[in-house]
Amino acid sequence: MELKKTPFYGIHVKLGAKMVPFSGFSMPVQYQSIMEEHEAVRRNAGIFDISHMGEFLLVGEDVFDFLQYVMINDLNLLEVSKGQYSCMCYDNGTVVDDLVYYEETPTRFRMIVNAGNVDKDFKWLNEHIGKFDVKITNLSTKRCRLAFQGPKSDELLQDLVDADLSKIERFYFSHTTLKGVPIFIARTGYTGERGFEISFENQYAKKVWDYLYNTGATPAGLGARNTLRLEACYSLYGHEISDEITPVEAGLFWLVKPKKGIDYIGKEVLLKQKQEGTDRILVGLNLLEKGVIRDNYSIFFNEEKIGFVTSGSYSPTLKKTIGLGLVSKEHSEVDTEIKIEIRNKRLKGKIVEIPFYRNV
């Protein structure tokens, strides 16, 4: 199968990015160095191509009720101009996808979903429309998306856009223009730093990229995107959450809302899990010996296997190996000494508090 290309593909190649397959797209994993790109986002600002992610528009009289039915978070906490992070779950509580939707009007919502789940989500949503008056349009390939993240993102971006960014609070958004280009801009992100996510029509790809690039912000690839989100302990679909792991197990119990009088998919299982706890739970991991832990490595307490690493990496900010793991509840206390098996050797580690780092 031919890999798909985002409208920024040519720019990435020209910048010397190392391109890798990711969710069916050819994406930049790094331009020069993951460490330098990571640092740039923590200290200044970085630009990420996130056009591989999906973008849907949901329009209709029943959009609100429909989303209350398919999402686990409570839309009564939402208002016009605000976005909400949520999970869409199966009846058994495991996760179809985690995503953010934005209320543009009470009958029009924009939704950003994971790259690897675009087709599955589109199908799942449409299968559950039933009697609801909702029409879903897949804008994923008509529009493109960039994230602009870092402590300097506000000041670097303000001169380019017409909206007063200081008025856009976290998780709020605006439709405005960037040097004349109509954009959707939200104060959201996946790095643990303040920052924005921007969406606009493909035809403006080069123009918007050039304006952002000329602010001095550093292009950052998927490698840095992963180390940044792991330090901030944001879940990655297929790792911390999946069709085998529920949000409660993944520590996202705060997403599971009672929504009295509203029946939503997964409600019964998830509320029970939230109340009674689960047999396994997501924890933070440090390695106490030299090495790097990676996804799916086994975690042991004494000689007993108690779980596995869901995400692991070297942390450029903390200068040590960090990870997240799903372990049995009885061994999930902070400071519990564990072992992690790396290529047939079991190295000492410890369960630690999370997040490792956040600056939002």
Binding site: K18, Q30, S33, I34, M35, V292, S313, Y314, R343
Partner: protein
């Protein structure tokens, strides 16, 4: 991409370089290999005295994103390891052919040397992988 290919070294198709001096071989990974791995954060080297067959796995190189193996270019006994890499694994990135060398071995089967590839041939290996 412009990679360095020192002419006085021998190479393997798995991207190790070998510097031969009598019956001692110094071994590291090539500029191309370090570039493929990206920022290196940990190098796991074997203990001195360990004996390896050619093509066996003698260690691991962990970068932020990936893990690479050190495949023995020749059979032999480990006589020295680069202890600077414990605290400065990034030397493999910044100086793959000099300060970032990884192990020294005493060659046990000198007849294997003829199977190492010269620089011209190694450049072709890299070119074909680049495509």
């Amino acid at each position: 991409m412009d990679y360095k290919f020192p002419k006085d070294l021998k190479y393997t198709k798995t991207h190790e370089w070998v510097l031969l001096k009598e019956n001692i071989a110094t071994i590291g990974i090539t500029d191309y290999a370090q570039h493929q791995l990206g920022d290196i954060v940990y190098v796991e080297v074997p203990d001195i005295g360990m004996v390896f067959e050619r093509e066996s796995n003698a260690g691991e190189i962990e970068s932020v994103k990936a893990v690479g193996e050190i495949i023995m270019p020749l059979s032999g006994e480990i006589i020295e390891v680069n202890t600077d890499l414990v605290n400065e694994p990034e030397l493999v990135n910044s100086s793959p052919f000099e300060n970032g060398w990884i192990i020294k071995i005493k060659i046990s089967h000198p007849d294997e040397i003829k199977d190492l590839i010269p620089v011209e041939e190694y450049i072709k290996v890299v070119e074909s992988e680049e495509q």
